[in-house]
């Protein structure tokens, strides 16, 4: 095999006719990708996933937690309220439920982030799991304030599913993070 492959350069060096100096990332993309990812995750629930019990994890919240953990300073601290309001429009919960719960989750993540100097992957997962349990049971209790509370039993599959799928979302967010900052 003496013939050289069509393009011997690695993918990152293929831009032959573009200057490789002074490359700049797009500020618009760096800003919009995280926001869009949370909003889209919130809207997944409107796809025709017809389940008779609440099974789908709160995807928007999981994206928000993952972004807060990988980039604590990306958004201001009050970001839980607008994202929560958007999620309430689609989730079927009474409006205001996610506004409150997500704000608390963001504040808690920020406090934890300030107090714990060295965290690893397992601790991040544990913190995210506690946040998810808080938000899911809190959502059930808010619905149960007026109507009969549904009890914890129907929530167990959803809680387990969200905790065990959280690392997937953390990975997805880190991929998105690399993509949005790539020049």
């Amino acid at each position: 095999m003496s013939r050289a492959p069509a393009n011997a350069y690695p993918r990152s060096r293929r831009r032959r006719y573009k200057s490789r100096l002074y490359r700049r990332q797009s500020p618009l993309m760096a800003m919009l990708v995280p926001i869009a990812s949370v909003l889209i995750a919130s809207m997944i629930t409107t796809l025709p996933i017809l389940s008779s019990l609440p099974l789908l994890p709160p995807l928007g919240l999981m994206m928000l937690i993952a972004w807060r953990q990988i980039r604590p300073g990306l958004w201001p601290l009050w970001v839980g309220a607008p994202f929560g309001l958007f999620d309430d429009l689609f989730s079927g919960q009474p409006i205001g439920s996610a506004v409150f719960l997500w704000s608390i989750v963001v504040i808690a993540l920020s406090v934890v982030n300030d107090r714990t100097n060295w965290r690893d992957y397992w601790q991040d997962w544990l913190i995210a799991a506690l946040c998810l349990i808080f938000a899911i049971t809190g959502g059930m209790l808010f619905v149960g304030l007026v109507y009969e509370p549904a009890g914890l039993e129907p929530l167990v599959p959803q809680i387990l599913l969200s905790i065990f799928s959280f690392p997937v979302f953390a990975r997805l967010v880190s991929m998105l993070d690399r993509w949005r900052l790539a020049a």
């Binding site: 409107t46 300030d114 009969e148």
Partner: protein, 305 residues
């Protein structure tokens, strides 16, 4: 990762106040959430317009994905239908011949029933279908069990109308947009349906459990009259739901009632019929149903406390 230095960012007053203001705003956001929550719990219809906008905006996507899912799922049976088309055709023609006679008989009987009804001065006691639509989405992550229907006010759907499919009762319309409507599913904790046992007409109530099943409570308390496998149908007491729509089959007993599984599962509900609100006849209801009438009334009201 080294600890981020933003807990006390140096001696800059501006930066310190910035962090403090962030916390204040975040707590304010949480309180705003509580306020919104209080408003939406005490006045559940107040934010219906907002939710309708969200539902209408996402309906085309949901319908498209739903159509794709159906096309993929139906491809196998469509191919299989070509293979034994001849045999099936012959069999169907035989059946048509056989049923023709029965059909004529049934039509004449129907006319006879109409005549007898007219003679007795009774109103029509059956529910009319308003429109037929598809269930395109359900609240997959909330304990509120809501579904989205692909038809709305433009097709004549109104709030409170019952929704059923060929298998049984699905729920009732909660609020209506121009082209979509949201359904309160049978398994929502707020959805109370007056039912009766199909075998002997024992009156009871069905309440959603939020996990896909419903709880059945008999109206006359005492010893638990149910048995696993009992079939429940709507009783028509208190109006709204027409009588004799299949509701659920009892799975297991509880100390004061039973847990039942609805016949119409949202996952296999492809088409859903919206029916006119059932108005019971003026005549005094049968004994035994009278007790349920008083309690059945709240079901007719719009949702909420």
């Amino acid at each position: 990762m080294a600890p981020p230095p933003n807990r006390r960012p140096g001696f800059s007053r501006k930066a310190q106040y910035g962090i403090f203001a962030g916390y204040v705003l975040a707590v304010a956001g949480a309180f705003a959430g509580l306020l919104l929550l209080a408003v939406s719990l005490f006045d559940p219809t107040g934010f219906a317009a907002l939710k309708t906008i969200g539902r209408e905006a996402t309906a085309p996507v949901a319908e498209g994905v739903d159509g794709g899912r159906r096309a993929v799922g139906g491809a196998g049976s469509a191919i299989a239908a070509y293979v034994n088309a001849g045999r099936k055709n012959a069999k169907l023609e035989q059946q048509v011949q056989a049923y023709r006679g029965e059909l004529i008989k049934a039509r004449s009987q129907e006319r006879e029933i109409e005549r007898l009804r007219a003679m007795l001065g009774l109103a029509r006691n059956t529910a009319e279908v308003v429109a037929v639509g598809r269930l395109i989405s359900s609240s997959a992550s909330s304990t509120r069990r809501l579904g989205t229907l692909s038809i709305g006010a433009q097709s004549g759907v109104r709030e409170g109308q019952p929704v059923r499919n060929p298998k049984g009762l699905v729920g009732r319309i909660l609020n209506v947009g121009p082209r979509t409507a949201s359904i309160l599913l049978l398994s929502d904790p707020e959805n109370v349906v007056p039912v009766r046992r199909a075998s002997d007409g024992l009156p009871a109530f069905s309440t959603g459990l939020a996990n896909g099943d419903v709880e059945i409570r008999a109206i006359n308390a005492g010893q638990n009259p149910f048995r696993a496998g009992d079939v429940l149908v709507t009783s028509g007491n208190g109006g709204l739901y027409a009588p004799d729509i299949p509701v659920a089959r009892i799975l297991r007993l509880t100390p004061d009632g039973a847990v039942a599984r609805p016949f119409a599962q949202p996952a296999d509900t492809s088409y859903a019929m919206v029916q006119r609100v059932f108005v019971p006849l003026e005549e005094a209801p049968a004994a035994g149903a009278s007790a349920s009438d008083a309690e059945g009334l709240p079901v007719v009201e719009s949702p909420g406390p």
